[in-house]
């Protein structure tokens, strides 16, 4: 319906409908003049903050409602929008009537007249408390995971189902002296021993397609160019539908263990040789005695 042709009754009806709409939507709604002075609050604003339009005159409302840590930033961004006409957008904390703070996404757009002059600002505040808390919890968990992953004794990595590695822990970069750019995708081949690369690549390509846990021992080049032996273990991570979503892998330095194993094998071989040698000596003695006995007889 064209508002210019609407009857007084229908204009009143539309105004009522807009009023209902403004109070019905879940946001806090406000309107200001071009200088930023409030002209309208919806009921939800009044219910949440306890401030009416009359209470909003002067700086007290802003000082009382905004979280102290957000005041300067809010003033700066709102001041910029008022001065330039740029859209207003900010995340800040507003105090409720009961004294508690909640996070809101504040947004406002200017309305212009035919001359291009700002007539009013229409703004909303959307409650984002739950999302904000969820985001902070997620960031906290991610920070905890990163701390754990970077401090475990192993080199760790995560790969997509096709084996394209997209994440390494800090220990990997510290050990190899490489950068994330160098290691992206199949970049890990750069730190493999040339004599083992083909075997390893062949093995893992096969393993990616099977989707079963696997392990393999091979040398990796340290940043000082020395090779160390690592036991690599990888497990497939699946979603609720059993679909492979990523691989989680670790590389454990087993160089010392291999050296000890080799020493142990050498010791056994030495012992076996010593026993054989001693038996041989006894055999020589026996033969010598037989000769002596034979010559006496």
């Amino acid at each position: 319906m064209d508002a210019s042709t609407a009857s007084p009754n229908s204009a009143s009806l539309i105004e009522n409908e807009f009023q209902f709409l403004a109070d019905f939507i879940p946001q806090l709604v406000w309107i200001t003049d071009p200088a930023g002075s409030h002209l309208y609050f919806n009921q939800r604003w009044i219910d949440y903050t306890g401030y009416t339009l009359v209470d909003s005159v002067g700086p007290d409302m802003w000082n009382n409602l905004l979280h102290p840590d957000d005041r300067a930033r809010a003033r700066q961004i709102w001041g910029h929008s008022l001065a330039t006409g740029d859209d207003y957008e900010i995340e800040y904390r507003f105090k409720a009537k009961d004294g508690g703070y909640r996070w809101f996404l504040g947004q406002a757009k200017p309305r212009y007249d035919a001359d291009g002059t700002i007539v009013t600002w229409f703004g909303t505040c959307t409650d984002i408390q739950d999302q904000k808390v969820a985001r902070e919890t997620l960031a906290e968990r991610e920070a905890e995971f990163t701390t754990l992953a970077d401090n475990v004794a192993q080199l760790s990595w995560m790969a997509r189902p096709d084996g394209n590695i997209y994440w390494y822990n800090k220990r990997w970069y510290d050990f190899t002296g490489s950068s994330p750019e160098e290691m992206a995708g199949w970049g890990w081949e750069k730190v493999h021993h040339p004599e083992h690369t083909n075997e390893v690549v062949g093995f893992v390509r096969d393993a990616w397609t099977k989707g079963e846990p696997w392990e393999l021992t091979f040398p990796l080049k340290r940043q000082d160019s020395e090779y160390r032996w690592f036991l690599t273990r990888a497990v497939p991570i699946r979603d609720e539908q059993g679909q492979l979503v990523r691989w989680l892998g670790t590389n454990t330095d087993v160089t010392k263990m291999r050296e000890l194993q080799e020493q142990l094998q050498n010791s056994y071989a030495d012992l076996e040789a010593k026993v054989t040698f001693r038996n041989l000596e006894l055999e020589h003695e026996v033969q010598k005695l037989r000769k002596q006995v034979g010559s006496v007889a």
Binding site: D270, A273, K274, T276, F277, N279, L280, E281
Partner: protein
């Protein structure tokens, strides 16, 4: 040239790798007679066939030879001294790639074990 001592495969070790003037670097006596010249030896010179055994207060000469037995996967040495004949199993030989330095481990039938260094 690398100064690293590398293990020599004892199944294929040439006899002349065992020759030379060896210094006794370390010994484990076990049940061997601690007063014997061998137990107190400070150096062992394995020449062509000649053997010189030197201890702080005595010196003995004799002959030596490298022996092999199909039961053993490594050589052993026969040391013939005026008072006795000894046999020692080569348990390890390590040397630099140029042969300038070497380390020889011997196990005698008396139980005596010696580590010889060259030079």
């Amino acid at each position: 040239m690398s100064d690293l001592l590398l293990d020599v495969n004892l199944q294929q070790v040439p006899d002349d790798y065992l020759a030379g003037a060896w210094r006794v670097a370390h010994r484990v006596l076990n049940r061997a007679d601690p007063a014997s010249t061998l137990a107190q030896a400070t150096s062992l010179v394995l020449g062509g066939q000649a053997l010189e055994l030197e201890a702080p207060t005595q010196k003995e000469t004799g002959s030596w030879a490298v022996l092999r037995d199909e039961l053993l996967n490594r050589p052993y040495i026969s040391l013939n001294l005026p008072a006795e004949d000894l046999r020692a199993l080569v348990t390890r030989l390590r040397r630099t790639t140029d042969g300038a330095r070497a380390q020889l481990n011997l196990y005698f039938s008396s139980g005596l074990e010696m580590q010889l260094d060259r030079p």
